[in-house]
């Protein structure tokens, strides 16, 4: 089980993702402000525990970070 933090382009996107995770019964899903070490800008993120990052359409997903020994590592990004 790994710990992930997903960031979004809107608060509503984060809420949609969070609700979907809750529905799927994903462990320790929590909606909160984006941690400072992830970004210097503000916004909403969802932290959760799972065996792999959960990609999802229709929720304005920005990026997913994995909490690892090296700190938070970006494992998925939609920035282009």
């Amino acid at each position: 089980m790994n710990k992930y933090i997903a960031t979004f382009h809107s608060h509503f996107g984060a809420m949609s993702y969070f609700k979907a995770l809750k529905k799927q019964g994903v462990a320790a899903a929590k909606i909160m402000p984006v941690p400072r070490k992830v970004s210097s800008s503000c916004g909403s993120c969802v932290s959760y525990e799972h065996n792999a990052p959960i990609d999802m359409d229709d929720c304005e997903l920005d990026a997913i970070y994995q909490d690892s020994a090296e700190g938070l590592v970006c494992v998925l990004s939609t920035l282009f």
């Binding site: 382009h9 509503f12 949609s16 402000p33 400072r36 210097s40 304005e60 282009f80």
Partner: protein, 355 residues
């Protein structure tokens, strides 16, 4: 423990700098009010003709440059933009109409509260109401769509413009307008003001200090860390004012303020609502602009334009109270903001990346 104290300590730092700026010459309860100083700066370059509020405030220049330098030093300078720029310009414009009806942005509202100005408590209720309104739209799906990575020059322009303005202020101050009386004539020494701006810009960038985030995050996430900064800021200013003898409890006779409760309330409703729809208060927008966010830079330009229009068309309040033009301007601005909120909230197709 240290982590928990970090935000309140930033609030304490901002409060001490505010007190020092007022003690050294800035107008009463004004500290580093971003809205007031953008308004003064607009007047300094001739965008409006209100003779009492003209001065190119070094604090604002310092905020942009401080945030820029720290973001470069931490390798966090991130040129981003492209999220509904004109919408942000208009929201910044409307925010300024509200701020100049109340006479202050969220920073000054807190400074006024801690100075004993009870009109600002009325403003705080309006501010909270505006934030709740904004949160309603956020929860229903409000989004100005995603930001993109943009060319480095796009992010560098705000600090470059700040540097050019600083050069004008130092080298050829004669071409700028300087108030000889009124709030614009009250100023801390230039280098002190610049240093204060640099420190606050850097600290604001590192801490993400934002004067709406305290209430917003408490409601949205039950996260109270930013509220800690908000409360610490008010307490230190309050204590400082009591020590310096500048605490004056009441509605009447407050510096650069009026006593019209309804419009103190309504002005801050508009400020709170626009700030949430923009994702940050005026102070935060200026700091983000320094960090390379061109959406925030556009928002700041919107606020500058709003300030110019507010004074050119007699919409800004004064110690005498609210003007008729101000009430009409508020109505128009409020309707436009509600229009923006509704159309960016309902009936949208949400795609991957929000594209």
């Amino acid at each position: 423990m240290l982590k928990k104290l970090a935000m309140p300590l930033v609030g304490v730092l901002a409060a001490i700098i505010s007190l020092a700026l007022v003690a050294l010459g800035n107008p009463g309860n004004m500290g580093f009010c971003t809205a007031c100083f953008l308004r003064d700066s607009a007047g300094a370059v001739g965008l409006h003709g209100a003779a009492a509020v003209q001065y190119l405030r070094p604090e604002v220049i310092g905020l942009v440059l401080g945030a820029f330098l720290i973001s470069m030093a931490r390798k966090e300078f991130a040129p981003r933009g492209g999220s509904a720029p004109i919408t942000r310009f208009v929201l910044g414009f409307a925010l300024m109409i509200g701020a100049l009806i109340f006479l202050g942005c969220p920073t000054r509202m807190m400074l006024r509260i801690a100075g004993g100005d009870l009109n600002a408590i009325v403003g705080l209720f309006g501010f909270a109401a505006g934030i709740f309104g904004g949160i309603f739209f956020l929860n229903k799906g409000y989004s100005l769509k995603r930001t993109y990575e943009v060319a480095k020059t796009d992010g560098l322009l705000a600090p470059i413009v700040a540097l050019i303005l600083l050069a004008l202020l130092i080298i050829v101050p004669g071409i700028l307008n300087f108030s000889v009386q009124g709030p614009g004539s009250l100023r801390a020494p230039m280098w002190v003001a610049l240093a204060a701006g640099l420190i606050l810009g850097g600290a604001g960038f590192i801490s993400r200090l934002c004067f709406i985030a305290g209430i917003r995050d408490s409601v949205l996430f039950r996260n109270f860390s930013m509220l800690g900064a908000f409360v610490a800021f008010i307490i230190v200013i309050l204590v400082g004012n009591l020590i310096l003898g500048s605490f004056n409890l009441g509605f009447e006779g407050q510096p650069v303020a009026h006593t019209d409760g309804l419009w103190n309330f309504m002005g801050m409703v508009l400020v709170g609502l626009c700030s949430v729809l923009l994702g940050g208060c005026p102070f935060r927008q200026v700091v983000l602009a320094g960090g390379g966010n061109s959406d925030s830079a556009i928002t700041v330009l919107g606020m500058v334009a709003g300030a110019a229009f507010a004074h050119n068309f007699g919409m800004a309040s004064s110690a005498e109270g609210v003007t008729n033009n101000g009430m009409v301007g508020f109505g128009v601005a409020f309707l436009v903001v509600i229009f923006i909120a509704i159309f960016n909230t309902f009936g949208k197709n949400r795609q991957r990346g929000g594209a």
